[in-house]
Symmetry: C2
Subunit: 377 residues, 2 copies
């Protein structure tokens, strides 16, 4: 009947396991060793009631001596909980990590997750080719996580698959206006609005917006929208040729380009700090004084923004807080069974005025530039 494990014969040898290199000790071993039932060992080790204090101590001591390490797999199989959450993002890990925005979000998630004694699994789009998820990552398919945090934009079908899989999940920094999902977001529109408003208040009238891809939706789209609205509310017409999209790292080229075709520009808003800093450097190198000739404001308030020359005026987003909030939201979902309904948590975006923004240069030269007949319509 009884087959023997590996090559060890079960000759009533209570301690055989600790002598066998290939075998980890289990509660069964401890039970045999102490002379109690496995259930008692389980109770003792998990600090559950129903074990006399001294027995509990004996068991715990013996477990430590035998170098006992529990098998999470086995526990999870019966408890249906892995105490692990998965992180999902539709970019290559390197891309995600090198983005100061997301790396802070991740740090927040990790901190919160860890504080609740959960573990974290990662999944990104595979390898070098810019290839998107075709299926959910293995660890989700195999029930290896209790829930998922989606970071940034992912393909719509991934969200659908998550929904049909029944996996609890929350999204951070990706706004799906239609669906009603748990999400943690930054108030991009209002942030960009405030930034634009600041510049208008300083007297700027020709304000450029240098963006990244994509510019029609997502974070950058929302920021562009805030810029647009602020202009509109101030009665300044929105002008296409003051906006440049394109590669996120090309803030320098974009800014230079706009300035070439619209020399009357006196301020630029960048879709994020990385872009703003690139623009700042490029402009300074070309001899444009910042903020005397041209003001620059960024978005995100990455650490480096405070250390540029001049320090960058930007819009602060509590990325770390967003990460923590998302993680916390998920953990709540996992514990209180479906208690709260889906909700969006919007983090305020706060303008941080530093020294890269100031009033535009005296009106005269700007005016003369502006009326040059050869200016593009």
């Amino acid at each position: 009947m009884h087959r023997f494990r590996t090559a060890t014969f079960d000759l009533e040898n209570g301690k055989r396991l600790q002598n066998n290199k290939n075998m980890k000790t289990t509660i069964k071993d401890i039970a045999r060793d102490v002379g109690v039932n496995v259930a008692t060992v389980s109770r003792a080790l998990n600090n559950k009631p129903g074990v006399s204090p001294e027995l509990r101590r004996t068991i715990q001591r013996r477990a430590a001596e035998l170098n006992y390490l529990p098998y999470g797999q086995a526990r999870s199989l019966v408890t249906r909980r892995t105490e692990t959450v998965g992180l999902l993002f539709d970019m290559e890990l390197g891309t995600l990590l090198s983005n100061p925005f997301y790396s802070e979000v991740l740090a927040g998630i990790e901190a919160e997750i860890r504080q609740h004694d959960y573990s974290l699994m990662f999944a990104s789009t595979s390898g070098e080719p810019v290839q998107h998820f075709t299926a959910l990552p293995k660890f989700i398919v195999e029930h290896r996580v209790d829930g998922v945090i989606v970071v940034g934009s992912v393909e719509a079908n991934i969200i659908d698959m998550l929904i049909t899989s029944g996996q609890p999940f929350v999204i951070v920094d990706y706004h799906l206006p239609d669906r009603h999902l748990d999400a943690v977001l930054a108030d991009n529109v209002r942030g960009a609005y405030a930034a634009t408003e600041l510049l208008i208040g300083l007297g700027h009238r020709t304000i450029a917006f240098v963006g990244g891809e994509p510019l029609d939706h997502g974070n950058f789209g929302e920021r562009l929208e805030g810029y647009r609205r602020a202009l509109n509310d101030a009665g300044i017409p929105f002008q296409d040729d003051l906006v440049a999209g394109g590669g996120i790292e090309n803030g320098d080229l974009n800014a230079l380009q706009i300035l070439a075709r619209r020399p009357d520009t006196t301020a630029v808003i960048a879709c994020n700090d990385t872009n703003a800093i690139a623009a700042l450097n490029a402009l300074q190198r070309k001899g444009y004084g910042v903020p005397d000739r041209i003001s620059i404001v960024g978005f995100d308030d990455i650490p480096h923004a405070a250390r540029t020359h001049p320090p960058l005026t930007t819009v602060h987003v509590d990325r770390r807080g967003m990460g923590r909030a998302a993680a916390l939201r998920l953990i709540h979902k996992l514990h209180d069974n479906d208690s709260q309904p889906e909700c969006e948590t919007v983090f305020p975006a706060k303008l941080v005025v530093r020294e890269s923004s100031g009033p535009p240069p005296a009106a005269k030269p700007a005016d003369s530039e502006a009326v040059l007949p050869d200016e593009r319509q």
Copy 2:
């Protein structure tokens, strides 16, 4: 005898599960549905031999229809393999991620791991306080990973715990000279040697080294050592006041400080690119021409190094490759049972000459500075 799961009574209803929201379908359900044994289902789904092609197809189709997702936990319990590896690093995640060096290493690890269809778990030092590991992370303790990759320096006792736990592991970018462990390393000494040699060859004699913490061991220590050896081999005495350690982000302050006390300095080697770029900016801002007045060389060849003005001469390390190598090494350890002995894989560090390095300014002025009597001994 038979207790009923939850509130569903087992009335020979082969399809009850898919109607029950709380219950995922299992191979048992499929078996019942198709009218075969669970073992057959298992074989069919895992593409194992011993199932007729048509039966296999039927089972697979039915599994898909029933929305079957396997329970990795259960499988792992019997196969003793989780197909997951853990990542261990003794810093806060944010710190790790904001470091371009490590984020590339991680990307490499992730890519390789994923290619082999493994998953990745993360563990960092907990939370904000600079607190080090006191115990192995939960996922290791609970056998939730098959092996571990240690990134960067960790406390020695963590290594010890890993060893006694019997977990297969490989270290990347952390050199423990004493022990004989699996590790993937960069050839820091030789890299720094080459950089220093380049400068010496160009005619520099007063070469500063601006470092980060710690400077007595680890990567920076090894780079300093390479610098030292190159000087030595060229017959140039090593001078303490040409070296500045301190905060890794303070390349600017350190460089300025050295230049203040040793105006005869004509070149600086930085312990990494982040530092070098900080120094570059600071020096240029103070009016020092680079490379005319002073040459700068970095270490790591982070992406941004090619985009500075002037582009940075630096030492390239294939961080991504190191990550991949470490992951691959671990996976091999997991498959071929303990085949190869422990080994260190050393990645070459290749000098990349760009435009931030050049010959020192004409000897005259440098000489006159160098002989000023008030120069510190």
